[in-house]
């Protein structure tokens, strides 16, 4: 019987460096499998929880469970895990990252082994679960739920995001103190669970590498302001991987140096992501549809390129702190000061840090359209998008498209409807661009 041809749903990348991310991801899961075989500690962790460097300093191998869910989506194999979680009684409107993870571990608990056909060999059995409050509530509820399927120590930390325009220095110090206490408790938990002591000097060194990585990443993305844009968003959604999942490792720093060099060369030689760049667009909200990143290539076929994005955006580098500061205070200050910096900018502008970021990126990257992804199962990142769009339009009447689908679940996606929307959106962008001339 002839094999049915599989439709390509992953995106074709523009830069060579982006093509190097997939082997890095494979290696991440392989490392965890090796750690499991050797009896070394493995932690399930949540991206952007700010504890990446702490894990690295204590030789704990992380498995970023949300990344794994995105990987199953990109590979079009998420459905069996989602349906397993549904069969376990979880609602299908819950976070689909969590549904994939819960389904995966439910199958493992039932069969006693990693689910058959799991991409990249699957997630190794963790020896601890590290939840966090960063971004959304499934980030600690998910791991609490896993108690049904594994008897594994769990610790959740609070990650502050001071979201107010009324800061004082006193409030800043309070937040830093609170965050430091959270990290201290985490380190205590890790020391107790692994039986090894934190090496503070090593953590400090890892943070130096992390800070430099962020700086190089930031600098590289400044190059995307060029016309034609040298790197599109589909590359970004790969290139953000080392910064979020390997932060503090030399490999991540080397990756962004390479990316920077490649982008510089492309800018110097006027090599764009799209051959004839007609429209520059902003990815203005929501996580991407990992199941169909090829939609970016559809935009490109119409001459449109996404130059920058609010999601997984590199944090603006901060002034380095003195060497006499304790690494946990240094880590906490970074968390709080990044948020405060964004708030300060908003205070001088429109008043809302998220809207201000959109307005800044529209202007700085010379964009004439914006897309937001309303992902059905990702309320934390989809909530308020219409409000943000309305606020943006009080300042600039930029055409906006709302793509409706999901981060993982392809059942919430309609290719025909999305492409029809894209066509109309590009027409609207064309009219808008003409009106500017």
């Amino acid at each position: 019987m002839a094999e049915q041809q599989k439709t390509k749903t992953t995106a074709t990348k523009s830069t060579k460096t982006a093509g190097k991310v997939r082997p890095i991801v494979k290696k991440m899961y392989l490392r965890a499998q090796e750690a499991a075989a050797e009896g070394r500690p493995i932690a399930y962790g949540m991206v952007a929880s700010q504890y990446e460097e702490i894990l690295r300093a204590m030789d704990i191998t992380p498995i970023w469970t949300e990344n794994y869910a995105a990987l199953t989506a990109a590979k079009q194999v998420a459905e069996p895990y989602i349906t397993k979680a549904e069969a376990e009684g979880f609602s299908n409107v819950l976070c689909k990252y969590a549904m994939v993870g819960i389904g995966f571990d439910a199958i493992r608990a039932e069969t006693g082994k990693i689910p058959e056909g799991a991409p990249d060999g699957g997630m190794a059995q963790p020896t601890m679960l590290l939840g966090s409050s960063a971004v959304c509530d499934p980030r600690f509820k998910w791991y609490q739920t896993l108690g049904r399927y594994m008897d594994t120590p769990i610790h959740c930390i609070d990650v502050v995001y001071p979201n107010s325009n009324h800061f004082t220095l006193e409030m800043r110090d309070y937040y830093v103190k609170y965050q430091t206490e959270q990290f201290k408790e985490l380190v205590n938990f890790l020391e107790k669970t692994t039986g090894t002591k934190m090496d503070w000097e090593r953590l400090d060194h890892i943070m130096d590498i992390a800070d430099e990585t962020i700086q190089v990443w930031w600098d590289a993305y400044q190059l995307r302001k060029a016309t034609p844009c040298p790197m599109p968003s589909q590359d970004h959604f790969s290139c953000m991987v080392p910064a979020y999942y390997l932060l503090g490792e030399q490999e991540a720093l080397d990756f962004y140096r390479e990316l920077h060099d490649e982008l510089k060369e492309r800018v110097d030689n006027k090599v764009g992501a799209v051959e004839n760049e007609k429209y520059r667009l902003l990815w203005g909200g929501g996580l991407p549809p990992w199941h169909t990143l090829s939609i970016f290539n559809y935009f490109e076929s119409l001459g449109a390129v996404f130059t920058i994005e609010t999601s997984y955006h590199p944090p603006e580098p901060l002034e380095p702190m003195g060497k006499d500061v304790h690494p946990l205070k240094r880590l906490s200050s970074r968390v709080v000061d990044r948020a405060m910096k964004a708030q300060a900018r908003a205070k001088e502008g429109c008043g809302d840090s998220r809207v201000q970021q959109i307005l800044d990126l529209l202007k700085e990257y010379n964009n004439v359209g914006m897309m937001m992804h309303q992902a059905r199962s990702c309320r934390a990142m989809s909530l308020g998008q219409i409000h943000f769009k309305n606020m943006v339009q009080e300042h600039i009447k930029v055409p906006t498209m709302f793509m409706e689908s999901d981060i993982v679940d392809v059942r919430d996606y309609s290719e025909a409807q999305t492409k029809m929307q894209v066509d109309a959106f590009v027409d609207a962008v064309e009219s808008y661009a003409q009106s500017l001339n």
Binding site: F402, M420, Q421, D423, A424, D427, A428, S435
Partner: protein, 257 residues
């Protein structure tokens, strides 16, 4: 003289419009059925036959709609873009367009040239689309053409407790058994649809004048309900179902000039 054709292959009906200079010289509608290719070719053929025009005399033929890619044409154009051109042609002062199609409802803002400047589409849900009317028509055993006039006779519209077409179907059955009249149930359904469509309009902000097209615009009950909730009168083309095809024909003419 140059002739231009627009063919709109929709999920329910396929429509063809032929224009010459600034006039619609012919239009035809056929049910799409299960074969878009056949429906698209048949409706164009019917329109050509009606004015005894050989196909090779057409300067350009553009297609639009759900099944646009299923027939060979000079170009496939977007439905929202087509509606913008058509409504601008029919009502030059229209700035907001509501298109209630069988598969989805689309609301768009257009400029003085009929070019789309913003738009919103109903999510993958039947309540805001013509499909909802079809489902309820079947449940109530009322022809689509009779729903509007019946709705206008309602004295006490039913308030539906759901915005889901599937649940609304069972709710309608419950209301029938409770003895509610068909006209009150239909009026309630129209109000429910109108509320859903109005939320789409609010997304892009209404700018006067506002026109309504698509199969849903042929339902006077729905149009009146929309006018009520929007507190605004709506412009309805004489043949609201053919506007996407008309827009495609106008885009074909634009491409030639």
């Amino acid at each position: 003289m140059l002739y231009f054709a627009g063919i709109d292959i929709g999920s329910v009906n396929s429509k063809a419009v032929i224009i010459k200079q600034n006039k619609i010289v012919c239009f035809k509608t056929v049910a799409s059925g299960g074969n878009y290719t056949e429906a698209g070719n048949n409706v164009l053929e019917a329109a050509l036959q009606a004015i005894e025009l050989p196909r090779q005399k057409l300067s350009l033929a553009f297609t639009t709609g759900q099944g646009a890619s299923r027939i060979t044409s000079d170009k496939e154009v977007n439905e929202i873009t087509s509606q913008g051109r058509a409504l601008n042609f029919l009502f030059p002062n229209v700035r907001t367009i509501i298109d209630i199609g069988g598969q989805a409802t689309r609301v768009s803002r257009v400029d003085e040239h009929g070019r789309v400047t913003d738009f919103a589409i109903s999510e993958k849900c039947a309540t805001g689309s013509g499909r909802f009317l079809q489902v309820m028509g079947r449940v109530l055993e009322v022809d689509l053409a009779d729903m509007g006039p019946l709705s206008l006779k309602s004295t006490s519209p039913v308030k539906f407790g759901t915005s889901c077409a599937v649940f609304a179907e069972s709710e309608a059955i419950s209301r029938i058994t409770e003895g509610m009249t068909k006209q009150d149930i239909i009026a309630g359904m129209h109000n429910s649809m109108a509320a859903k469509i109005n939320s789409l309009i609010q997304r892009i902000k209404l700018k006067q004048k506002c026109g309504v097209t698509g199969g849903g615009a042929m339902d006077i009950g729905l149009v009146k309900s929309l006018e009520g909730i929007m507190e605004s009168s709506l412009l309805v083309p004489p043949e609201p179902q053919i506007t996407a095809a008309l827009g495609a024909a106008l885009l074909a003419r634009e491409a030639k000039t």
